[in-house]
Amino acid sequence: MAITEAKKMTTLQVKRFKPSENPTNNYLTDEKGVWAWMTTVDHKKIGIMYLVAVAFFFALAGFLAIALRTELWTPAKTFIEADTYNQLFTLHGAMMVFFVLVPSIPAALGNFILPMQLGAKDVAFPRLNLASLYIYVAGAIFTFAALASGGFDTGWTFYTPYSSDGNGAGVIWVTLGVFILGFSSILTGTNFITTIHKLRAPGITWDRLPLNIWALYATSIIQVLATPVLAITILLLAFENIMDIGIFDPALGGDPVLFQHFFWFYSHPAVYIMIVPGFGIISEVISTFSKKTVFGYWAIALSSLAIAFIGFLVWGHHMFTSGQSAVATTVFSFLTFLVGIPTGIKIFNWIATLYKGSIDMKTPMLYVFIFLFLFSIGGFTGIMLGALSVDIHLHDTYYVVAHFHYVMMGGTLMALLAGLHYWWPKMTGKMYNETLAKISAVLIFIGFNMTFLPQFVMGSQGMPRRYYNYIDQFTPFHQTSTIGSYILGVAFLIILYYLVKSLFGGEKASSNPWNSRGLEWQSTSPPDFHNFDHTPVVINGPYDYHKPMEEFQLGLAVSHNGHDAEHTSTEVEKTEEKA
């Protein structure tokens, strides 16, 4: 990068000051009223609105899951008809994936935290950011329109020709809804990549990027590369329904397996869109609550990129029984295993971070532990499914259902909960009730395992998924699972209760309740409208726990003018030595 003479000459003087506690002026008080929220371009408010939307859809899709589980209490009919059941699991899966998990960490938490961790005032394109929220809402409206026009029961995978039979306007609506939704994801990804490249504050070099940012960066790359393929796939499917273009429909000469390729080309990378941001949160929380530099910074940072890359080449592992060619099957199986290696590297590095740390089992850390346990199980069972001969037996059984709940709920959702509790004081300026939080975390752990462990067993025994009716021998497993899901429901209600309560009566949070070294904690709680008063100059790394907390006060260049991080940072280092 070229840099102007003028910039090189500037001397940076570093002034230190402490963020004020409980500011009367913050982003929440800055502009008030519904209209101000709806038209805001502030990344923090947009993040909060995303969070509310995601929570809403989670509650809705979770409620559908409870209905599913209740229906499965007995074989055949318990309280709803087969057609209703089929629509329920489709809606549950589609909402959880497209409306909850894909936007959850990047668009909700990421939107809030990313610019703050970069010391930027906002993301690169604030208006696009708001647009992405509205596009998300538009996608939701189309999905509800699909429900109104008869619903859809294709499963979240929309396999042709079942989905292209043309017997339902519902499918057309929901495909258009998912199509639209894709753009919201694309815009978020585009925005993040640009922000990370161009808006880092002076002093934040690539080797000082918080791991959360690395994870979001990897995620954004996947979003940008994979989502357009989903868009075109789903558009082709919509046209298949509207006017029988025949590309995927065997009755018209097309190939249904081709649809599966197209679909999984997006949807496998999409599972990494869901989990990789979770990895980011884990890195942050684990270092904060063990007061220690993360072990293997580069290993963790680069493994995210490795996962993103290899993740693109394994989609065919969902199609081992579909009739794809033997060559493709072999290659896909082989590559599938390679994804496990970088993931393992992460897990081992996190554990190594704990070694000789100062471990504080606050709620976020508790969720990290739960994450590590559950996600490992999910990952290992993924390896099981990647093994060719075994997958033949396990494909489309409850084993797969259990696998993906372990990774998506036990993984991403636990990471999301960790992040939510971790950043809650920063976002709201309030502390939540630690006791209730711990109780509900434990309840979630119990309820979760009770719901999904039995599913591994019945899946291996042959219980197929998407089954409204089942043979009697599976009844005990299904009933345990159902009870577990009720426990989960209770646990989430407790979470909802204490979080809402903390908003209104919660104890005020200090600017840095966890004594974290991360940049976002060097602002006030809740942050100022512009995050920091001035573009901060970053002197310390995000995990410099060996330096005393006093050194972690916001550096501020008296006369700064550079956005070009690489160059200014060295200047900062120099000035610091002199100071």
Partner: protein, 313 residues
Amino acid sequence: MGRLFDFMLPENKSPLTADSTDGLFHFINEVSLIFLIGITFALIYFAFKYKRKSEDDKTPVITHNNTLEITWSVIPLLIVMVIFGWGYSGWLNLKAVPNDAYEIQATGYKWNWNFNYENGAQTLNELHVPKGRPIKVVMQSRDVLHSFFIPDYRVKHDVVPGRYTYVWFQAEETGESIIFCTEYCGTSHSDMLAKVIVHEPEEFEQWLELNGGGIQGSPVEQGEQLVTLQGCQTCHSVDGSEMIGPSFKGIWQREQQLTDGSTVVVDENYIRESILYPGNKVVAGYQNVMSPYEGRLSDDEITNIIEYLKTIN
């Protein structure tokens, strides 16, 4: 075999196709368990050992360790390569049908399995096979994707419209095993069950003999058998009870309201059309889910079915 995870798998009734799958299943479970115990133990141990004592705890700066990084990359890599090789060879075995396999044709359609044997015998939702002999099931679909799954034999394959796919197995015990449809195919996906019935070889020959040559008898009798074999009764009752489609009871000359508002009186042509192209005229109050029988039933067969339907009152 008395292994730790035995309780997870159903009884292995086709060792030739199931053995390597089961062995690998156990291996992965055991390796995973070891790793999981290690991870869990480390987590709990560290959590207690390094519990925070005070807010100004000092922690050492340990940034990385290349030896460790390499160790925990290479060991898992070796393990997964073993898993890959094992799974691959097991899968090749599942693809390689022995030359002397006995072939049976299967057709999946919403929501039944139809089996055809070499001598014209037909069965609905029952797959009769001799024991101790490799069986190859060649499958096709008439409508959407289905998937043919026999847990006891560890075999599964999608059934794809416009293509043939197959599975093979060799049952070693007489008895019955369940067949599931594992690719979502609509309302009664979970009822699209069938069973394998394994006979002693001689018994099987007899059975084949008895059912060979297909359908026989007077037109009405033939029609009745066809209605049974073609799975019509999955959706149509003969006693007037409500199912997925309208009951056959009293169907003849019944006045039927269609979804487009018009009415028809059920006669030969209407029934014929309803069987060949069910989507053309859809009865009000029902969904258009019946798959077309075009190319599946001959004119004579349809005539026989009509004769039979006339008799159900």
